[in-house]
């Protein structure tokens, strides 16, 4: 029965090659764009080295201090995180907490050549919250940080820039006027992984000035590794109550009385950055809504196009349908036949779209437009692709199928379609 | 007026060659009312198409008023069809999305006239066939006989000298058929319109001046 439908479907699609072509074109291109966007989002937010535990990791990326006349918004400072967030390690649901700065531009001069790098300062726990791929040597430790040792972990690209790619462990690197000994080399981290990417890492205590220790607002982030994914809501709630406690200890309550922040997943953290305005406790929902709206908005035109084409296809075969009806085919069979055709078309289009996506992703990674980008087509994205294709196929088939079932057999035989 | 000399028409599909008309010689004078009869597939419609300049002969010559039509280019042919010929079909071929009056106006669109003049001529033609009360209706709202009358109005709106009717009563019952026949006879008698009519019905053919019989593409008697 299904095989019969399939055979007929393929034959029919082969008969009107132009229609088949333009339908396939529309579906595959639409899918291409959507999958590229999905791959990009996946690249930025999904669990990937070094954040392989991203699904049980939270970060405190932003802190807002509000007062009656003032509002100040930036990354949290070391003082705030050290006093209020580090004690959260005692919670049973928290495995470990690391403090790390944002990636800052630093300059080095090597043999008259200027080299720009992104540097983060971190405590020794960073290497146990995130899982970097070491190609040489190893990380610096908590003890290194406590003693202010001038050691650094560098990326492969940094090794390329400073040491021509030769083994670097034990060698000295000068950055921003400071000299560090290389302790380890890690694989490059894609630049869009906003919470972990950098060209080199050094201990926090090596900072040129110790003013950071006093700051509530600064350029630090806390990364909290939970024991399991299920613990996340509890940790978020715990953090909120810690905030309320912290508010009572604000140094200048006349200027700033309230604190707004959240322990965010990667997605929520980005949402907080992208959708500014009044600081929201849960920005993730908003970003998701915006993305959904964009996706639907984009698919509007291809869907209308496809419905139009499908309708034409049906009306084109009006007389054939009339004949079949005259010979006793029920509406159900005909509509079923058409929907199978539509599904086959959509699946073929989806397959083409996937192949195109693979090509474009490969070209994109090779082009280096985004540093160290390695957009992938993985199983999850493939499933999204199938889901979108299925949605497309069904949606663009419903209205034409309905029109088809209403075709008056006699009129259809006469070649008229109204 | 219309002259066919040794006219043949062949149709070629992938491998098969069909002879629709074989060596036809025919002369139609002005003001004549002729019927063409014969069994199905004998080439009646093909003959009408050739006379009506809708198609070209594979062999032989078709001449209108002494001038052979193979001299005419596409533009010129279109002009002749527009000014000198009118067509009536078995299936009526009315445009269902246009009102009756708009349908009748169609031949006049290809002539230089003002909208007002066109409308006047269309209404006059509709009056001639007795459909003045239905000018704003759509074809789907009319009976078969009424639709054919609209088609006749369309065919005569430009005052052509020659009418070509392909089984005009074929889709109608006998009463409506008689009505249509009556209109055609009237046109021939009063306006001296030359009419070439293909028909199945011997009753209708009887009323015409001359009957041309075809069998397997050839003229017989």
């Amino acid at each position: 029965m299904i095989r019969n439908y399939l055979k007929v479907a393929l034959k029919v699609l082969g008969r009107r090659k132009f229609f088949t072509f333009i339908s396939l074109f529309g579906i595959s291109v639409t899918l291409l764009v959507l999958l590229l966007a999905t791959a990009l989002l996946d690249h930025v937010f999904a669990a990937q080295t070094p954040e392989i535990h991203a699904n049980r990791m939270l970060g405190i990326y932003r802190l807002t201090m509000k007062g009656p006349e003032n509002i100040q918004n930036s990354q949290p400072g070391y003082a705030f995180l050290d006093r209020f967030v580090r004690p959260m390690t005692k919670l049973p649901s928290v495995e470990r907490i690391a403090l790390v700065t944002e990636a800052q531009d630093v300059v080095s001069f090597l043999n008259g050549r200027k080299i720009q790098s992104l540097m983060r300062r971190a405590d020794g726990d960073l290497w146990r919250v995130l899982s970097f791929d070491f190609v040489e040597g190893g990380p610096f430790t908590v003890a290194d940080n406590e003693n202010g040792r001038m050691v650094a972990v560098i990326s492969e690209t940094t090794r390329e820039r400073f040491f021509d790619g030769r083994p670097a462990v034990g060698k000295t690197i000068e950055v921003d006027g400071q000299r560090f000994r290389v302790a380890g080399v890690v694989r490059d981290v894609p630049i869009l992984r906003y919470s972990s990417s950098a060209d080199l890492w050094v201990p926090i205590t090596t900072a040129k000035s110790s003013a950071y220790k006093q700051e509530w607002l600064g350029h630090f982030t806390a990364l909290i590794l939970a024991r399991s994914h299920a613990d996340l809501p509890q940790i978020k709630a715990e953090f909120q109550s810690i905030l309320r406690g912290a508010e009572k200890q604000l140094p200048d309550p006349k200027t700033f009385k309230f604190l707004v922040a959240g322990a965010d997943t990667l997605f929520e953290g980005a949402a907080r950055m992208f959708l500014p305005g009044e600081a929201v406790v849960n920005p993730g929902g908003r970003l998701r809504a915006v993305l959904l709206a964009l996706m639907i908005g984009f698919m509007l035109l291809p869907t209308i196009n496809l419905v139009n084409i499908n309708l034409s296809r049906i009306l084109d075969r009006a007389s054939e349908i009339g004949v079949r009806r005259a010979f006793g085919a029920s509406s159900r069979t005909l509509v079923g036949q058409f929907l199978v055709e539509n599904l086959v078309l959509t699946l073929i289009g989806a397959a083409i779209g996937l192949v195109l996506t693979a090509f474009v992703l490969h070209a994109f990674n090779a082009s280096g437009l985004i540093e160290h980008a390695s957009l992938q087509l993985n199983f999850r994205i493939f499933l999204y692709g199938l889901a979108i294709a299925a949605f497309f196929g069904i949606f663009s088939g419903v209205y034409p199928a309905w029109r088809m079932s209403k075709l008056h057999p006699v009129r259809a035989l006469r070649g008229r379609s109204i | 007026m219309i002259n066919l000399q040794q006219v043949s028409k062949l149709y070629r599909t992938d491998r098969v060659e069909t002879t629709a008309l074989d060596n036809i010689n025919l002369e139609i004078g002005k003001g004549e009312f002729i019927s063409v009869m014969g069994p199905s597939g004998c080439g009646k419609s093909t003959l009408l198409n050739l006379i009506g300049l809708l198609d070209e002969p594979s062999r032989g010559k078709v001449a209108l008023d002494g001038k052979s039509i193979d001299r005419y280019g596409d533009r010129a042919l279109a002009q002749v069809r527009n000014e000198r010929l009118g067509f009536i079909f078995q299936q009526f071929h009315l445009v269902s999305d246009l009102s009756v009056a708009d349908n009748v106006e169609i031949p006049l669109l290809y002539r230089k006239m003002s909208n007002k003049e066109r409308r006047k001529a269309a209404l006059a033609a509709l009056d001639r066939v007795g459909l003045s009360s239905r000018t704003h209706h759509f074809p789907t709202q009319l009976s078969g006989g009424q639709q054919q009358r609209v088609a006749i109005a369309r065919a005569i709106v430009g005052r052509p000298g020659i009418l070509l009717a392909d089984e005009p009563t074929g889709n109608l019952d006998s009463q409506m058929g008689d009505e249509i026949m009556g209109i055609l006879e009237d046109l021939n008698a009063n306006e001296k319109t030359t009419i070439v009519m293909v028909t199945h019905d011997p009753r209708m053919a009887e009323k015409t001046h001359r009957i041309v019989r075809l069998f397997d593409g050839r003229q017989v008697q």
């Binding site: 764009v33 630093v106 084409i309 034409s312 | 596409d74 246009l98 169609i106």
Partner: protein, 400 residues
């Protein structure tokens, strides 16, 4: 003939509805992308108000956040002043100044004032007196800051022409007070007007700009976040290292990052233009898809109307006439779609939904979108209409 055309299209509006909708949505897409591009283009053509070539920016990190917001101390301001002096001592340096914000950069400071009942939005920057020379500003009225101005009992400010026009109309702004001084604030007074200063760069529209003097002595003095250094044309990139080493020697605890303004400008261009390029590429694909769909649907439509076409040919239409009929019909359908889209889009200026969009840019976007849709429609109708014109009347009418 026109009336006939309109009647044809109107009577078939149900079956044309999807096509009209598709054209309408495509029109909206083209309008969006075109308007954005034209917006940038329009802004690009206005003068910047400053010179960025041969100017380097230096980000000064005193190891403390909030250097702009009252962070730091007068001692650090003294170090900052020394930095400026050292930098100016180089032969390769033509001018140097300190500033809270650098042009082309995203960061900035905005304030809003209520002056004579009007709400005025102003972008402003705290600068040292050397700023005008470093950035090549042009005075239009009055004068720029001088070192002695820090001793004044009121706050001198220099505003740009846009702001002057908005607050003082066509009158002279020099010497006039700017807004009312709040409780602990000092009165601000305009001492000069510069030509329009477009801090965000060529791609963004004009805004109101105000310069505020930041002196490096006195108890209120604080260091600024950035330095701007104008170097002599032809200065090699190696001078950067020399400069940084000298600055590091003056302030060993501070960090310095040198970025030529040409680099900052390039980054900001990337930031603004990338979405446009992406949107443009995606839109092109969508339009291609729409065009192909149009050909298919039109073709099938005409196939259905074979008998009508045969009939018209029999009634005396030449091939050209059929050709023309199909093209013009499609023109009318396109016009309906475009009209619908235009009606939607015209709400924007009428309801003043997007303030920064000038009427001229909006109109250009509208025209561009219209022309594009007509062009696509026309091109896509060419082939089907040719096929329609080739219909043989005898074949068409023989159909059943």
């Amino acid at each position: 003939m026109t009336r006939h055309l309109f009647k044809l299209v109107w009577n078939r509006k149900r079956s044309n509805a999807l096509m009209i909708l598709e054209i309408c949505v495509s029109f909206l897409v083209v309008f969006g992308v075109a308007t954005l591009g034209l917006f940038f283009l329009d802004n690009y053509q206005q003068p910047l108000g400053f010179e960025w070539k041969n100017v380097w920016s230096v980000r000064v990190d005193i190891g403390q956040s909030g250097a702009n917001l009252g962070g730091g101390a007068p001692e650090q301001a003294a170090i900052f002043a020394r930095l400026l002096k050292e930098i100016r001592s180089f032969g390769a340096v033509e001018a140097a100044a300190g500033t809270a914000v650098i042009p082309f950069d995203q960061g900035g400071m905005t304030g809003s004032w209520t002056i004579d009942g009007k709400d005025v939005q102003v972008d402003f920057a705290e600068v040292t007196p050397g700023f005008a020379e470093a950035m090549g500003l042009k005075m239009v009225a009055g004068r720029w800051f001088q070192e002695a101005d820090s001793a004044l009992s009121w706050d001198p400010i220099v505003i740009d022409r846009d702001l002057a026009r908005e607050v003082y109309g066509s009158g002279d702004a020099v010497g006039k007070p700017f807004g009312k001084a709040e409780a602990k604030e000092r009165q601000r007074r305009v001492i000069g007007v510069v030509s329009d200063f477009r801090k965000t760069g060529e791609l963004m529209p004009n805004g109101n700009f105000m310069f505020v003097l930041k002196g490096m002595d006195g108890p209120e003095a604080r260091p600024l976040r950035n330095l701007l250094v104008r170097v002599r044309p032809g200065t090699p990139a190696e001078f950067e290292e020399t400069l940084v080493k000298r600055m590091q020697a003056v302030a060993p605890e501070w960090s310095f990052e040198v970025r030529p303004l040409s680099q900052v400008r390039a980054t900001s261009y990337h930031f603004f233009l990338t979405p446009l390029i992406v949107a443009g590429t995606v839109s092109s694909f969508l339009l291609l898809m729409v065009g192909l769909g149009l050909i298919g649907v039109l073709w099938q439509n005409l196939l259905q109307r074979t008998r009508e076409i045969g009939l018209r040919r029999a009634a005396g239409a030449s091939r050209t006439a059929v050709h023309r009929l199909v093209l013009l019909e499609q023109l009318v359908v396109t016009s309906l779609g475009v009209l619908l889209g235009a009606l939607l889009v015209v709400q924007i200026p009428v309801l003043d939904l997007i303030g920064v969009l000038s009427n001229r840019v909006f109109a250009s976007g509208l025209v561009f979108a219209m022309v594009t849709m007509y062009l696509i429609s026309f091109v896509c109708t060419l082939y089907p209409s040719t096929l329609a014109a080739r219909v043989q009347p005898a074949e068409a009418l023989r159909y059943e």
